[in-house]
């Protein structure tokens, strides 16, 4: 299994696609003259041999759009091979995940499918993009039991993370002995790690199937929220496929725009959603109703100063956001509803749990050192 082609170039870090990636998106999403122009310009300037890994993952969608328009040629034939590869790879992943999900279900562990596999299930197409791992949400109180079951199936965490840190994270990346990936989530969004933060998602989940196995997933509106909030942030490997996912979701299912606005407001991500969807509409003509954009803008106008600072921090185009900002914003979100006194005590607990740091008097020294390392 290729996480990306062996010789592919690392993409430019950031959160918004580069001009070449924008062309690829247009060629993948648009039909008619707009799409074909983008395809011709992209094909004339890009070298598949040195394609960045983010673009590589878009190639199945590109091929699907080209074949629907009857585009032919040697490069298209090669893309067809990538499409075949994506389809076969996804089938193998979905099939091998059946036993894992069945085991969890039989043990009483509830699951919701998230991200790539789930979006493709909603869209009814198993080949729209390469899915390297399965993203599964479980209830936060079932994490330990699920990890035990998964360990019995040969899954191990990719990184050695102290158990104390789990409450400050949304998920854990696991890999099986055969190399199959599974991202175990106990929260949907980094922005909502508090108690009950996922109740709305669970309550409004919908049934679907994965490789014939009945499963549940977020409804299309909540998928859209998840896609935008998770995707539109700085990443070393920018996942600009979130823009393609937005288009796919809008085409596949009706969106409850009132719910989207309400959820974005409730989770203090209206600014993020408004900004990202606004940009996508401007650049890609995404069919979001003007009334929904206006509602999002109204919700975003009441964003706090910290929310605005957080968005700027997440959207740096070049340098990676540093860990100090990461912890400051994460803690701010976790403690939004707390009293000032509880926030001070909670901050010590946060630092201790993140680094599994005992006793507590070691925390101030560690914090000073981290800040110094980032800013010195």
């Amino acid at each position: 299994m290729h996480e990306s082609p062996a010789n592919s170039r690392r993409p430019d870090p950031g959160w918004w696609p580069t001009p070449s990636q924008e062309l690829l998106l247009r060629a993948s999403l648009f039909q008619g003259r707009d799409g074909l122009d983008a395809w011709e310009r992209w094909a004339a300037t890009v070298d598949l041999e040195t394609l960045d890994s983010g673009s590589f993952r878009m190639l199945p969608l590109l091929y699907d759009n080209l074949r629907k328009q009857g585009v032919r040629g040697p490069l298209v034939d090669r893309l067809k091979g990538v499409y075949r590869y994506a389809w076969a790879e996804n089938q193998a992943l979905f099939h091998s995940s059946e036993d894992t999900l069945r085991t969890l279900h039989e043990a009483g562990v509830e699951t919701l499918l998230l991200k790539g596999a789930a979006v493709m299930a909603i869209c009814g197409n198993d080949s729209l993009r390469l899915v390297y791992d399965l993203d599964v949400l479980i209830r936060v109180e079932q994490v330990d039991g699920a990890l035990e079951l998964l360990a019995e199936q040969g899954f191990r965490p990719l990184h050695d993370i102290p158990r104390s840190r789990f409450r400050l994270l949304r998920s854990l990346d696991l890999k099986s002995a055969s190399g199959r990936g599974l991202d175990l989530h106990w929260h949907v969004l980094d922005e909502c790690l508090g108690p009950g933060g996922d109740d709305d998602f669970w309550d409004a989940s919908v049934p679907t199937t994965l490789s014939g196995l009945p499963v549940r997933t977020l409804n299309a509106t909540d998928h859209l929220l998840h896609t935008v909030v998770h995707g539109a942030r700085w990443d070393e490997t920018p996942s600009f496929r979130w823009i393609a996912d937005v288009h796919a979701l809008l085409a596949a299912a009706p969106i409850d725009w009132d719910r989207l606005v309400a959820q974005a407001r409730k989770r203090a991500v209206a600014l993020t959603v408004s900004d990202a969807l606004g940009r996508v509409c401007d650049r890609f003509g995404t069919p979001v109703p003007e009334s929904a954009l206006a509602s999002l803008r109204r919700a975003a106008s009441s964003a706090s100063r910290l929310e605005r600072m957080e968005l700027a921090w997440k959207r740096r185009q070049q340098s990676p956001p540093g860990p100090v900002g990461f912890h400051v914003f994460r803690y701010w979100r976790m403690s939004r509803e707390w009293s000032p006194a509880a926030r001070i005590g909670g901050a010590i607990d946060y630092c201790q749990d993140w680094d599994d740091l005992r006793p507590g008097w070691r925390v101030p020294g560690r914090v000073v050192r981290k800040v110094f390392e980032e800013y010195a």
């Binding site: 299994m1 290729h2 082609p5 062996a6 010789n7 592919s8 598949l48 041999e49 394609l51 590589f56 074949r67 040697p74 490069l75 034939d77 090669r78 893309l79 067809k80 091979g81 990538v82 499409y83 075949r84 590869y85 389809w87 076969a88 790879e89 089938q91 193998a92 099939h95 198993d126 080949s127 490789s211 014939g212």
Partner: protein, 143 residues
């Protein structure tokens, strides 16, 4: 009897006139083009053998004498690979499935034994215009 895909362990998709099929139980990967892909498209619809013969005979009237034998032989091979099964039921209303004007040729499939190995082939850097799953210079597997 209707003939159907041996789901759930067999999955297939028609990609621009080519049927790609995977037997997830034993990891074999199949590619079918031309008349073979047309027959697979009928199998996906749960057609009867008679319906497949009738449709192909209509598409290739000059070959009507050999169509029955070719279809029966191909279906037999697909069954031998555990890719299809028979199910009781009435003949369904069939959608369109044609070989796009290609001349009639005995339907065949190419079989690649191990999907796991195929998935180790880089679909960009180790292939030419033929595309994955063939590496540059690899011969087609024997039909």
């Amino acid at each position: 009897m209707r003939i159907t895909v041996n789901a759930p362990h067999v999955v297939g998709e028609i990609i621009d006139g080519e049927a790609v099929v995977v037997n997830l139980r034993d990891g074999a990967y199949y590619s079918m083009t031309g008349v073979g892909a047309t027959i697979w498209a009928f199998v996906e619809q749960g057609a009867t053998a008679d319906q497949i013969v009738e449709s192909l005979s209509g598409q290739y009237p000059e070959e009507a004498g050999v169509v029955r034998g070719a279809v029966d032989s191909f279906l037999s091979r697909l069954a031998g690979e555990d890719l299809i099964r028979e199910e009781p039921g009435t003949a369904p209303e069939l959608g369109e499935a044609s070989a796009n004007g290609e001349p009639f040729a005995d339907p065949v499939f190419e079989k690649f034994e191990d999907l796991k190995d195929l998935l180790l082939i880089d679909p960009i850097h180790e292939v030419d215009e033929t595309g994955w799953p063939l590496r540059v210079g690899d011969p087609l597997p024997p039909p």
